[in-house]
């Protein structure tokens, strides 16, 4: 609780709330010692004195009583009644909740059915009925309000008890032979305190309001007692003549309740673990999210510590049930309402003092704007249309899509951290590229960034060029038109791909009609260029482009007439059928009328792929598109993807943590580690001669068919988080070094460049492996590579050069072996 106090002190909402609350509470508490007139002393001669009269700063009421004194004493009464009502409700409600939650079964069923019934009442009505039965009076009103709130406490406390009951320490206490009552008192009660405290602050405001309401109706405090509600009730008669008498008590109630609610919100921020989790997911961990724990046992190195899918961020159980159920009134307040805003503003200068940034990663360009972008766009497009025969080429042909220095920045405790760091990626038309890496390696973020999506609270840097046009500087509406038409995306979770509330057929039709009234692409780009500058200048720290963009375009769209209308024309329906047939679903059958939850995972994924194909996109991005499926279904979807991409002029970017899967499908494989490309090689090259120790390790932990007894080694350690990779120990050197079996001291001195080992094979390692490694050879080349790394890292280049001797001497073996392996490989490939 100590730390809670400290955290409250640092919470601005809590402080403002306390301040507002203090305005009312402090005088109310100090009332007996304040030089106030007697609040109940009637002096008919001084009736309705105006404010500022001597001795009556706020004037007097209809009976000549001092208004200020009555307000302060009235506030005291309201606060006392509210607090006592909250305590009574908490006490009785907690008792019921604990009994139901802990002793379960019949007790639980009986008590909770009772609670359900009470909750079927509008609770103010329940309170009224109780007052009606007990008779008017402040104590009865208070009791009535408290009783009306009991069900709410009972239900919430029961839930909390059930949570606690399933904790291990309760089982441990049972095993230790403690009795149930002992467990309740020692283990359960202390853990309930935060919950109950939270419930009390949430309901306190409401209790103050409603007891005041009962007094207002004359059912609570009785004259001549000073009570805010009663004052309001009697002041009502003089509303037109002396409004002050009725307005002031209401104002005091408002201030009091605003203070309580502000403070309660702050307390909820700090105490409610569910909301806190959610805040974290929205905020600091936004870029990473989660992977729902699905993974292959065959990949021990792949631990899913972080998830992969930014789209998951912020998704959470609808918080509307718990408190919302309880409250038909205000205490329903913000249970699900307020996400915690602990996003960290992204600082503009991403990180300081890493002079080897650009040089190491090779490509130095990027800063000059894409001049004459639309011309290049058109030209490239025409070129593509002319030459359909050009299959995957590695060299000169202009790439379909090229990311240059692409960084995905996500918020972290220390500011913007690069979850994807200066990534370069080129895809030729018709090429099938795989992207592999552990969870958190940034592969999904990269995939989404290719569509111009930044994770919540994050932003993108660098360029993503689609045939020469930088997507990241495009106008939101132009970018929208490219999404789904030229670049399509299939996500990991089949259930994520589809809107659960719309029928499958409608969603397919929507995907088709989204681009049917196509605005000419060229015109778009021209428009886009104009606003690109504006977009770039307004792109501030908060929220990525994709987060703010849509709002802007929503406004634009509103004026454009009904672009999104989904008149199910015959042509569209036919197209839907064709698409469904194409992905192996019977397009005519009932599937169109079903809702997504009525489909199997495989069916959903087929529908998702069908949607992705709606506009024959040039690039299909499949983001772990088979991961969430059963193995057999996985194979089917894989075959489908292969069929759909083979022999066509369609590029495929297949993102997966499963290297074996990727090498089955793709021509070329990119291996990502901690946001960096560590190896980029044609499939055969990668399988025969993996060069990066990380790739080697990934291959080693792929199970092989027919060798069930093959041991699957784990890669020790964890990949660094984006924050660690940006600022942590590994930041200066090779990010894999801490886990690398071959790491040398020099590996931590500077990050190696992504150097070409052989045509089309690039690797980011000082000591790349060879498949047919031999121990012969000289260390000259490895020193050369170190030197290059040094050169890049100008800051401590000299120091590293000094240490180089140590490498050659102490541990040069590895280096030279790797080098010679590579040497032989090069010769092999030349033969």
């Amino acid at each position: 609780m100590k730390t809670l106090g400290a955290r409250l002190l640092r919470h601005p909402g809590a402080m403002i709330g306390l301040g507002v609350l203090g305005l009312v509470v402090v005088p109310a508490l100090a009332a007996p010692w304040l030089p106030l007139a007697d609040p109940t002393l009637t002096m008919p001669a001084q009736r309705m004195l105006p404010a500022g009269s001597t001795g009556h700063p706020l004037g007097t009421d209809a009976l000549g009583r001092d208004l200020l004194a009555r307000l302060i004493w009235g506030a005291r009464s309201s606060i006392t009644v509210g607090v006592v009502a909250a305590l009574v409700a908490a006490l009785i409600g907690s008792l019921i909740g604990i009994l139901a939650g802990f002793f379960g079964r019949v007790t639980d069923a009986l008590l909770m059915r009772g609670v359900d019934v009470l909750m079927a009442f509008p609770y103010l009505l329940l309170a009224l009925a109780i007052v009606a039965a007990l008779g008017p009076g402040l104590a009865n009103a208070m009791l009535a309000i408290a009783l009306a709130n009991v069900p709410f406490f009972a239900r919430a406390v029961r839930g909390a008890v059930l949570d606690i009951r399933h904790q291990d320490y309760i089982d441990a206490a049972r095993l230790a032979g403690h009795r149930e009552w002992w467990i309740v008192i020692v283990e359960v009660l202390p853990n309930l305190i935060p919950t109950v405290l939270l419930l009390m602050t949430t309901t306190l405001g409401w209790m103050v309001l409603e007891t005041a309401g009962l007094s207002f109706l004359g059912l609570g405090a009785q004259p001549p007692d000073a009570d805010l509600g009663a004052m309001l009730g009697t002041g009502r008669e003089f509303l037109t003549t002396y409004p002050r008498v009725a307005v002031l008590p209401g104002l005091v109630i408002l201030v009091l309740v605003v203070g309580i609610n502000l403070f309660g919100d702050a307390l909820r921020d700090l105490l409610d673990p569910r909301l806190r989790d959610r805040g974290r997911r929205l905020g600091t961990r936004a870029g990473e999210c989660r992977d729902a724990g699905r993974h292959h046992d065959g990949h021990p190195g792949h631990d899913h510590r972080h998830g992969d899918h930014p789209a998951h961020a912020g998704r959470q159980k609808a918080g509307l049930s718990g408190e919302g159920q309880a409250g038909d009134g205000r205490s329903a307040g913000g249970d699900c309402g307020e996400p915690v805003d602990d996003r960290h503003p992204l600082d503009q200068g991403r990180r300081g003092g890493s002079p080897h940034d650009r040089e190491v990663s090779g490509e130095g360009q990027g800063d000059e704007p894409p001049d004459d972008a639309h011309k290049g766009y058109r030209a490239a497009r025409d070129a593509r249309e002319r030459s359909n025969e050009g299959g995957p080429t590695t060299g000169s042909a202009p790439p379909l899509i090229a990311a240059e220095g692409l960084s995905v920045l996500v918020p972290s405790e220390r500011g913007a951290a690069a979850a994807v760091d200066r990534l370069d990626l080129r895809l030729q038309a018709g090429e099938r590229v795989g992207m592999v890496g552990e969870s958190g390696s940034g592969k999904s973020l990269t995939a989404l960034a290719l569509l111009g999506f930044a994770p919540p609270g994050g932003r993108l840097e660098g360029q993503v060029e689609l045939e020469g046009t930088d997507l990241l500087t495009l106008d939101a509406d132009v970018l929208r038109d490219l999404r789904g038409r030229r670049i399509a995306y299939v996500p990991q979770e089949p259930s994520d791909a589809l809107d659960p509330l719309l029928r499958v057929g409608d969603q397919l039709r929507e995907a088709i009609t989204a681009h049917s009234s196509e605005i000419s692409a060229d015109a778009d780009v021209a428009v886009g260029e104009e606003s690109a500058a504006e977009l770039a200048s307004t792109e501030g720290g908060s929220g990525g482009r994709s987060e703010t963009g849509p709002v802007r375009s929503a406004v634009v769209m509103a004026g454009l007439g009904d672009l999104g209308s989904d008149k199910p024309g015959a042509e569209t329906s036919k197209r839907v059928e064709t698409l469904l047939n194409k992905v192996g679903l019977d397009g005519v059958a009932g599937i169109q009328r079903r809702f997504p939850h009525e489909l199997s995972g495989g069916q959903s994924q087929r529908v998702a792929i069908a949607m992705a194909l709606a506009h024959e996109p040039d690039l299909l991005i499949a983001d772990e598109a088979t991961t969430a499926l059963d193995v057999t279904v996985q194979a089917e979807i894989l075959a489908l993807l292969e069929r759909l991409s083979r022999g066509r002029d369609r590029s495929l970017l297949f993102v997966s943590h499963d290297l074996a899967l990727v090498t089955e499908l793709c021509d070329r494989v990119l291996v990502l580690y901690a946001g960096r490309v560590v190896e980029d090689a044609p499939r055969e090259r990668l399988l025969d001669a993996p060069a990066h120790p990380y790739t080697v390790a990934l291959l080693a932990c792929s199970p092989e068919l027919g060798r069930p007894q093959k041991p699957l080694p784990a890669i020790a350690g964890q990949p660094p988080s984006p924050a660690e990779a940006t600022w942590g120990a590994a930041a200066a050197g090779c990010r894999f070094a801490p886990r690398c079996p071959k790491a040398q001291p020099v590996c931590e001195q500077g990050e190696p460049g992504l150097d070409e080992l052989a045509p089309g094979h690039r690797v980011r390692c000082l000591f790349p492996e060879g498949s047919k490694a031999s121990d012969t050879g000289d260390g000259a080349d490895s020193t050369d590579r170190v030197a290059r790394a040094d050169g890049a890292d100008e800051a401590d280049g000299a120091e590293v050069t000094d240490r180089r001797a140590g490498i050659d001497g102490d541990a040069g073996n590895d280096g030279s072996r790797a080098h010679s392996g590579r040497f032989f490989n090069e010769r092999d490939s030349q033969r």
């Binding site: 009442f121 009505l125 605003v258 789209a311 913000g334 309402g337 307020e338």
Partner: protein, 320 residues
């Protein structure tokens, strides 16, 4: 839908039974002799004895409940002592104006809350969002009865735009449209007093739900498919937010019904809420009992409608 409807209707039976049990039970909280409490100290012994038999006070509690419930199912809620007429008749007569007031308030509050919450979520962490958040905080913190008084003061007393109280102009013989307009003018301020508060709660919850939904996978995927943003917002996001908000709106009906007790008193609105207050003041327990029962049943039915609407929006919801 059919199976859900049947299941949900079947679930009504225990809830309604429970509600009747609570209504009956609360009234047996009355200290002392209920017959005396109902008739007051000046009742004749004969009248007292008669009422005791009517209420079945000679029987045990469960039997009394059975007798009462039988009467209720027969449409007999007893006889009001203060009004000297059948309770059901008096209650039903006042139900219409309350439904009109509460329904209008809920409708206005829902519109207000949904729009404010959606706009705030779209402008998350921007100035608009902060303004909405502040407005919503005021909405959930303001005493509705005080807000009603302020509205009267400003719009009726000072500006003179709208009538102070009542449901129709006194001695008005307006017919057709002008009588509707007359009621509407009288309805505006009381409905607004409730709507602003209900809108506060709805707005606050909508904002939270919309922030979630806008960051959710289906919305992101719709964008990834290049669906026009307007459609993403108005079809995908709004539908999802609505599906989550419908139960909350149903629960707000509870606040609006309860708040109507104050507001009808302030605005002299001839509804059931005011009747209840009058009945409590007159210690007319059977009238209170009947009024509470009818309002509670109305509330249960509103929530049934909310659940059915939610199910229509989101077929995944089950009758739990």
């Amino acid at each position: 839908m059919g199976a859900y409807l049947v299941k949900r209707l079947l679930m009504l039976i225990p809830v309604l039974l429970g509600v009747s049990l609570v209504v009956f039970g609360v009234m047996s909280l009355v200290p002392g002799d209920p017959a005396l409490a109902i008739l007051g100290p000046y009742a004749t012994p004969e009248r007292l004895a008669q009422l005791r038999t009517e209420l079945g006070l000679d029987h045990s509690w469960p039997v009394r409940y059975g007798i009462w419930l039988g009467g209720v199912l027969d449409g007999d809620l007893g006889r009001s002592v203060s009004l000297e007429r059948p309770v059901l008749e008096a209650v039903l007569e006042r139900l219409g104006p309350t439904v009109l007031l509460a329904g209008t308030a809920l409708l206005l509050g829902t519109l207000l809350g949904l729009v404010a919450g959606m706009v705030a979520a779209l402008r998350h962490n921007q100035l608009t969002d902060r303004l909405v958040t502040f407005g919503v905080l005021l909405g959930i913190s303001i005493p509705s009865f005080w807000l009603g008084l302020l509205l009267i003061l400003v719009f009726a007393v000072w500006l003179g735009w709208l009538p102070v109280s009542g449901m129709t102009q006194v001695w008005s013989d307006a017919q057709g449209f002008s009588s509707v307009a007359d009621v509407a003018r009288h309805l505006l301020l009381p409905a607004l007093s409730l709507a602003l508060v209900a809108g506060g709660v709805i707005g606050r919850l909508t904002r939270g739900a919309a922030i979630d939904v806008l960051a959710s996978a289906p919305v992101r995927m719709a964008r990834a498919r290049g669906i026009p943003e307007r459609r993403v917002l108005l079809v995908h996001a709004l539908k999802s937010v609505s599906a989550r908000m419908v139960p909350v709106i149903g629960l707000q009906a509870g606040f609006v019904i309860g708040g109507a007790v104050y507001i009808e008193t302030i605005f002299q609105w001839p509804g059931l809420g005011r009747l209840l207050v009058e009945a409590i003041a007159a210690r007319d327990l059977l009238l209170v009992q009947g009024g509470v029962l009818v309002l509670a049943v109305a509330y249960v039915l509103v929530n049934l409608a909310a659940d059915l609407t939610q199910h229509a929006l989101d077929r995944r919801t089950r009758a739990a």
